[in-house]
Amino acid sequence: MCYLLSAVFYLALPVFAQEASQTPANNDDFTKAVFFGRKFADMNDYAAAYDQFAKAESLQPDNPAVLYDMAVLLAKSARWTDAQRKVDRYLQLYPAGAEKPLIDKLQLELEFQRELQKKKKADEDYVELFNRARFLYGKADLDASLKLAQQAEQQRPTDPAPVYNEAVIFEKQGDLTKAVERFHRYSELETDADAKAGVDQRIFALDSEIDDMKTKILCPFCGLRLPIGAGWCPRCWHGPYFTSSPLWSSLPCTDGASATRATYFSEDRFNRNDSLPCLFPGTMLDSLRYTPSKQRAIQDARKTEGWTYNGEIIQGRPDVKFVQGAEMLERVLATNSGEVLNYAAHKAGDAWLLDREDLLIDGQKYTVRYTFDASNRIAHQQVDYQNAAACNHLVTMTADYAYANDALSTVGIKGGYEGYVVEGLPKTDWQTNVVFSYDDKGRLAKQEVVVASLQKQYAQKPVGAVRDELSKVYPSMRAKRPVEGINRGDFCATNGTLLLGNAIDLRPFYAMAPAINWSLPYGVMRAVVTFTYPDSYRIR
């Protein structure tokens, strides 16, 4: 009973309190607060107006008009949640109140504001996608930047900006085809004529790049764009780039590919096997095919080494000067060490073919002259050098090329020299044949080098102390007789216990095939290089 009475007491208390609060003084304060509130509202000072109405509300809680006015003022102050609370309170207490039509309208306004805030948030999120994409792009995180651009495009498919950004990123990634497609799409969406014109020019440039990617290769040394089928790079004379030749795609760096050189002494005595290093990631054409990013990588690699460029054309480095003519490199000057390399060449169609070049291999200088057939293939080659690594003999080598079914089949190389009076006027001649064999897929299967002959004969006795020296080299040597034991090597002098001689040096014939770039060790009379490839490997 006691509990029941208490409950009744507490339930009755608010009513009592409300009635008790409605004293004349209270009414005056209420009226004053409402009046002030209206005045502040008229001055658009909604915060002060709300404070006054809040005072009125505290004096007479839940007055419907005050509740409504407070809701409106809160809404005008952009306090949407608080305004909604007042609206809810009003509707709870006065579902059919006099202000109901206005409350309904306010409710609609509040819903609109909610929608507006939602949209504002969506707009901010959308702009944020761009900010993040730009930040990541600046950090070279192109994949992440692209994803954000694509996300933005999904959200607003008709906004040209994300499409443009995708195009720029694809271009940066080197995917020019996709970049062009995106730029075309951007051009459809963009309404600004100037922006469209700018992109049209860019599309034109990219189309040209894509065309180059189909028709051009890069010089892997200097990065110059060359037509497919080019001989040598006319700006650094690296090459040759005979991309259609199976010889130049015979050393791929792929699983299942190998090149093993077996060497034999005279009478076919086995010497050793050597694995030859691979040269290109795939075929020569695929490996050198032009892409802007590959060109940039090559040029960057050279620039890191100190080489400089004028546009695409390599110019040299502080200690090496490339004397570039109008169309080709004419001379290389090593300004510190003093070497001079001269070149002469002619243009055949799109290709540049060397007529003459100076070569430097391990400090030894060679002069190489080429003759080409009607198909711009090497037909004949002559190499002259003074063998500074031995007795300074003036050595001449010639090579005659033979082709079968458009592929190099054999090369006959002859070499020799005439020595000096002091050493007894020796005369050495040798002949080496190189034979290339191909498999049924047109790939180089075997390359065989055979020393067909090697002869040396002294015209007279060597002079003085040199006679003693040479008797140690060739104990049975007699003037005007072929030297016996020449198959051990063509020696000419000693350097202490070391024998100096003229090896059969095939390195100046580098343009024949990559696996020929080699000097036969003394005594080796035959070398066979066997090539293997993965089944799927194709040259053309």
Partner: protein
């Protein structure tokens, strides 16, 4: 070169070539030193042995056919052979003098070839193995969206009046707000039913407009309530209709247009109230009851071009394109014609929250346009 066998000198040229004067000078000095060392050694046994004589470094005339010193290939080979024959003789003398073949003096007769990898590398090189490092791009390469117009108001103005609060104890009139937006009998347009399509329905005039024609002495407040209340409802209807559209970009544009319209209506209310009961603006706004009268009023105020957008049949009609960059400048420009000014007025009111000063200026301007 001094020939020890004949004790004669032989002139040799064109046997070497240097990239620069400095390189030639360095090579010449080194050769002279080596030769001096050799001769110094040989003079022990042969006091008449002479030094080689080195000419100064100069331009290579042996490669210029116009020069008397020019050498063809055969002549050059002959020069090389001559030089080498003499060097072999000297070597033989040194060996004969008791030096071993690997003695420093003998080896110094032939300067050892020094590999120069810069110009002597292989002629076919593989492309760089390292993956190309992506070049850092500038953030400015990428565009910023223009789809979001940051200049537009982020908050729409609330165009609702406060109601009078009756003093405590005063009996409230049933179902009546003290300042109803349109008429005492129907305080505001009832929410229209949900629109199934994007077609926008005009608010029901019978509910929005008072039942009787406005008296000539209708107050500015009533005029504002009459026009603005109805038009606010119209724009709410557009928003509802737009909610059924799926294309977010179109929806967004409609939303922007509604936001602008709401702002415009808020400004227009202020202008009507500020212009006063006897103003043309209040009179015309109060008199615009029917749909055709409203459209006529809008045409008179904002130009006939705006009218179809104002009373949009489709939600998308509410979008008004081609906003001038600076409508206020256009309005103040004396060379602008009335039609241009009307159009500029629409965009100005849609963008700004008019200050008192702007209200005064615009009231005068509108009065002129409504004449």
């Amino acid at each position: 070169m001094y020939k020890p066998d004949t004790r004669q000198f032989t002139e040799v040229w064109g046997t070497n070539q240097f990239a620069s004067q400095a390189a030639c000078d360095r090579a010449r000095d080194a050769a002279m030193k080596r030769n001096a060392a050799v001769v110094s050694y040989l003079k022990h046994s042969d006091s008449n042995y002479d030094l080689d004589r080195f000419g100064p470094c100069h331009c290579d005339g042996s490669i210029d056919p116009a020069m008397p010193t020019f050498l063809n290939d055969a002549q050059r080979i002959a020069q090389l052979r001559t030089a080498e024959e003499i060097r072999q003789r000297v070597r033989e003398h040194l060996l004969d003098a008791g030096l071993t073949s690997d003695a420093e003096l003998i080896r110094s007769l032939y300067p050892a070839p020094v590999p120069n990898p810069l110009i002597g590398g292989p002629r076919v090189v593989p492309p760089p193995q390292v993956a190309p490092v992506a070049q850092l791009g500038s953030a400015a390469d990428l565009k910023v969206t223009k789809a979001i117009d940051a200049s537009k108001p982020a908050v729409a103005s609330i165009d609702l009046p406060l109601v009078d609060v009756l003093p405590p104890g005063t009996p409230a009139p049933p179902q009546t707000a003290s300042t109803p937006p349109s008429s005492p009998s129907s305080p505001s347009p009832a929410p229209t039913p949900e629109l199934p399509t994007v077609t926008v329905e005009a608010p029901p005039t019978t509910q929005a407009a008072p039942p009787e024609p406005a008296a000539p002495d209708t107050s500015a407040e009533d005029a504002a309530d009459n026009f603005i209340g109805y038009e606010t409802q119209r724009i709410q209807n557009v928003l509802k209709a737009a909610s059924t559209i799926n294309d977010e970009s179109v929806k967004s544009k409609i939303f922007e247009a509604c936001l602008q319209r709401t702002q415009l209506l808020s400004n227009l209310r202020g202008l009507i109230l500020g212009a006063g009961t006897h103003s043309r603006l209040a009179a015309d706004a109060g008199a615009a009851k029917s749909e055709s009268e409203r459209v006529a009023f809008v045409s008179k105020l904002f130009g006939s071009e705006i009218a179809p957008h104002w009373a949009a049949k489709e939600a998308t009609d509410v979008i008004v394109d081609g906003a001038p960059d600076n409508p206020e400048k256009l309005l103040r420009d004396r060379q602008s014609n009335d039609e241009q000014k009307r159009r500029a007025l629409y965009f100005l009111l849609a963008r700004i929250t008019a200050t008192e000063e702007q209200q005064l200026w615009l009231s005068t301007l509108i009065d002129g346009l409504l004449q």
